[in-house]
Amino acid sequence: MSQKTKMAPKPDPQSASNVAAADAASQFSMDPFFHVLKLVPFSFLRPPRLRLKLPSFSLPSAMTVFSLILLTYFMVVSGFIYDVIVEPPGIGSTQDPATGAVRPVVFLPGRVNGQYIIEGLSSGFMFVLGGIGIVLLDLALDKNRARNIKVSYSIAGISSIVIAYVMTTLFIRIKIPGYLR
């Protein structure tokens, strides 16, 4: 029931008239722009003979788009926009009351909606790692691969998911002291 029409890429009028001018002698054109351009500059200007090809854009494959999207997801989920607007430091610091030395503080304490840059990036990386783990599991269950590759994919997938989940739980427990109590 569905009809799919592939539309031709849309050229701009200048190159259209160039291409049309090339075979002007061979066919009659009903393009009004072509006739106007044939008259005004090109009756006394001679266009050079070039071997130009119209740039043809083909749509990228689904998996290319998916990897770009994964990158954008990583940036959004690590709080990139928060970093750009609020401009927190890369890592916090606190002074040890006893010795006076300055110790770094990785996780911004006190509120849920606040972060330092590095903690955001590391958490975002963990989320993407978990996602990739599930993708690897699905690739491992694909029938058309050699068995050792399937085994290594499944081991990598399972370990990615486990590491990502354990680390994220650890991070959130450090960040919110009363978590799950």
């Binding site: 009809q3 029409t5 701009d12 788009v65 989920v77 690590s78 928060y82 989320f127 993708v135 799950l180």
Partner: protein, 721 residues
């Protein structure tokens, strides 16, 4: 009777045995019933802990308007001019609100009364949001079924029933537009995707009406009217133009636009506002596509058609650009408003519009907010995207676009995590369903392998591969079982997390504060309601109350008195006037207050209890907003070396402004904490600078039991000789 008794038990049981299809239907229906009930009861924490009351600030206005609607009927509500808020300007309520929520609650109220259940309208308002959350789970099931299959639909319903991102704005008592709007949003999207998949006019009509309900419910309908044209554009670019898409989009756009103009608040924005122009542009683009398709069908000469294509496309693009340019230059098409423009350019609000930047829900999102609201869905979301990209269809392209755009906006503003939640739940459900399906196929594959091995002939390669397969089969089967247990463990952790978050973080009514006492017992502060009822019972009925805009709705709803500014924040100059009054010295402030006919001033002070969302902490926003309109108020006057202080080292203007005086009047003699000097502010953690405060034009009228709300009366001017 005798015949039944003589039938043996096994025959009786056999007559009840269901076929597989019926068993599956029974399982599905029972899961959906349980999920429906679960979505409702998980939102009832605050009703069980405190009482059935309306939470926060905005819901009080919605409650007051619903009360008016049930008491006075629809036409009085639609034409209501409210003189009790924004004194002396008043507010045209009928033309400045989204009526969907109020009408829905009033309809439920009327149905219940028709069935002779005499409930109070407040109970209906409190429980509207959980009821619609349960309905959203059903819509999520059907949507999941449309995109992927029934398994994904069931998982989507389960995930969305407890997801904290949705619970945060739809808990019982949170009587706000979003409670109904998320249901309307998902419903409209489901109907539109169904219309695109089937190409039926009936489904397109239904999606237009769903869009109308969404427009009547929430200002976030702008998301729908921009996402759907973007989706249509992506389908056109990827070469998926079809008659189904044409029918669905045209019907939905035209009818939806006409219906949306029935809401007075929206008015003619669909043809006049820049935010709605994308939909119109795509509408005309669809007509061009259809026209070209028709011409191609009529012409048999391809070269002629190519030339015709070039001319038409050039002309169409030129005409469209000229029309858009003319519209914008002449001012007929208004540019993007600040609220929505700040979503595209997040730095805009910080520099230009302090009111938008001051709301805490409008801050950008940090990773921990995502984790708090989504938990393991953050892992499942990219995996679900992968599965969608593996099996691209019209429906999966839609859910991918919805997920990506809503996640970007959720990253810009914390409040919009709510809009992203249905998309994240749906895409995650695809990941869960596909993975579990893979694993269970693995679990079942052993039997099939043995059968085919035995029925086919035994060539040597097949035998050897079958032997290898036999060796790994038990290992694979055990591995699949272990992975299924792992998935079950993760999902149960998700459920635990969601319930904990709902109980601890999202069930607080905000109007009643709770804290842990010294011995771990729970202490309740009900100061807000104490103050509002004092206002209601001890002030003249035409008294006017000046406070910061946060409390306006609550004062009008519970205190039943006229306010100067409230949460609608539609008039920035009026709010700036109040901000200027609060930040000036008492002599200047009394002039402003007399010009506004103010009788009482209400401030919120957290120094005794340690409550940190009080007016002293919000004071700098009052200065910024007031200074934005009246340059006489300068923010550096109130700061010392860029630092905001209230102790001895504070700026002199800060120590003598009206807000400081009203908050700390008589506080200098108060002992708040053991071992600290009198006048120790527990919220700021310092001893205040100016303890000896004298008020000349105001007198203290009421202070609540924990000093949280303080009300002052404006003294009439002295008699003249």
């Amino acid at each position: 009777m005798a015949a039944v008794a003589t039938m043996p038990v096994s025959d009786l049981l056999k007559s009840f045995k269901l076929k597989t299809k019926q068993q599956e239907l029974l399982i599905r229906v029972s899961i959906l019933c349980l999920v429906y009930i679960l979505a409702f009861i998980t939102r009832l924490f605050s009703v069980l802990r405190y009482e059935s009351m309306i939470h926060e600030f905005d819901p009080y206005f919605n409650y007051r308007t619903t009360l008016y609607l049930t008491q006075n009927g629809f036409y009085d509500f639609w034409n209501w001019f409210d003189y009790e808020s924004w004194y002396p300007l008043g507010r045209i309520v009928g033309g400045t609100l989204y009526p969907g929520l109020m009408i829905t609650a009033a309809l439920i109220y009327r149905i219940l009364h028709f069935l002779r259940f005499a409930v109070h309208i407040r109970e209906v308002c409190v429980l509207t949001a959980p009821f619609f959350a349960s309905n959203t789970t059903l819509v999520a099931y059907f949507f999941g079924k449309e995109i992927w299959d029934t398994g994904a639909g069931l998982v989507a319903a389960i995930l969305i029933s407890v997801c904290p991102g949705y619970i945060s704005r739809s808990v019982a008592g949170s009587y706000d537009n979003e409670g109904v709007a998320i249901f309307a949003l998902l419903f409209t999207f489901y109907l539109f995707v169904k219309a695109v998949n089937t190409g039926s006019l009936a489904w397109s009509l239904a999606s237009a009406f769903g869009y109308f309900y969404m427009v009547s419910a929430w200002g976030g309908y702008v998301f729908i009217i921009n996402l759907i044209p973007l989706y249509v554009l992506v389908l056109l670019i990827t070469g998926r133009y079809s008659m189904r898409l044409y029918v669905a989009y045209n019907c939905m756009y035209v009818l939806g636009m006409l219906l949306a103009m029935q809401i007075r608040f929206v008015g003619f924005q669909h043809v006049q506002s820049g935010e709605h122009m994308a939909a119109m542009g795509v509408f005309f683009l669809m007509q061009v596509f259809y026209f070209l398709d028709w011409v191609k069908h009529m012409l048999s000469d391809t070269k002629l058609f190519q030339a015709f294509l070039r001319i038409t496309v050039t002309c169409a693009v030129a005409v469209g650009t000229i029309a858009l340019g003319l519209g914008m230059l002449s001012g007929y098409i208004s540019p993007w408003t600040g609220r929505f423009y700040s979503l595209l350019d997040p730095t805009y609000a910080k520099d230009h519009i302090p009111i938008i930047a001051s709301v805490s829900e409008h801050q950008p999102t940090a990773w921990s907010s995502f984790m708090f609201d989504f938990h393991i869905l953050l892992f499942l979301f990219p995996a679900g995207l992968y599965f969608c990209f593996k099996r691209l269809s019209d429906a999966t392209i839609f859910i991918v676009m919805y997920g990506l755009t809503s996640m970007y906006f959720a990253g810009v503003m914390v409040r919009l995590i709510l809009v992203a939640t249905p998309a994240v739940c749906l895409i995650s459900s695809i990941a869960v369903s596909a993975t579990v399906k893979n694993l269970t196929v693995l679990l079942r594959s052993k039997n099939k392998g043995v059968q085919t091995g035995s029925t086919k002939g035994s060539s040597s390669s097949k035998a050897s591969s079958k032997a290898l397969l036999d060796q790994s089969q038990p290992f694979q089967k055990n591995g699949a079982i272990a992975l299924l247990f792992g998935a079950f463990y993760l999902l149960s952790k998700y459920a635990t997390h969601c319930t904990w978050v709902t109980s601890e973080a999202y069930s607080s009514p905000s109007i009643v504060l709770a804290a842990r006492g010294a011995h771990g017992n729970r202490v309740i502060f009900d100061d807000y309601r104490e103050a509002y009822f004092w206002l209601r019972q001890n002030t003249p009925p035409d008294a006017k109350v000046m406070s910061w805009w946060d409390y306006g709705y609550q004062i009008t709803a519970m205190g039943n008195r006229t306010v100067i500014v409230d949460n609608n924040t539609w008039n920035n100059t009026h709010i700036a006037t109040v901000g200027r009054a609060m930040s000036s010295y008492e002599d200047e402030a009394i002039e402003i207050m007399r010009s506004l006919d103010v009788n009482y001033v209400l401030v919120v002070f957290g120094g005794v209890t340690g409550y940190s969302s009080d007016d002293i902490n919000k004071f700098l926003w009052m200065v910024r907003i007031g200074g934005g309109v009246f340059p006489v108020i300068k923010e550096p006057d109130y700061l010392v070396n860029g630092e905001y202080r209230v102790d001895k080292g504070a700026a002199p203007k800060m120590l003598n402004c009206l807000m400081y005086k009203l908050c700390y009047y008589r506080f200098g003699e108060m002992l708040t904490e053991y071992g600290k000097p009198p006048g120790y502010d527990r919220a700021r953690g310092v001893e205040i600078g100016n303890k000896d405060i004298k008020l000349e034009h105001l007198e203290e009228a009421f202070t609540t039991s924990n000093w949280i709300v303080r009300i002052y009366k404006v003294k009439p001017p002295n008699n003249r000789w």
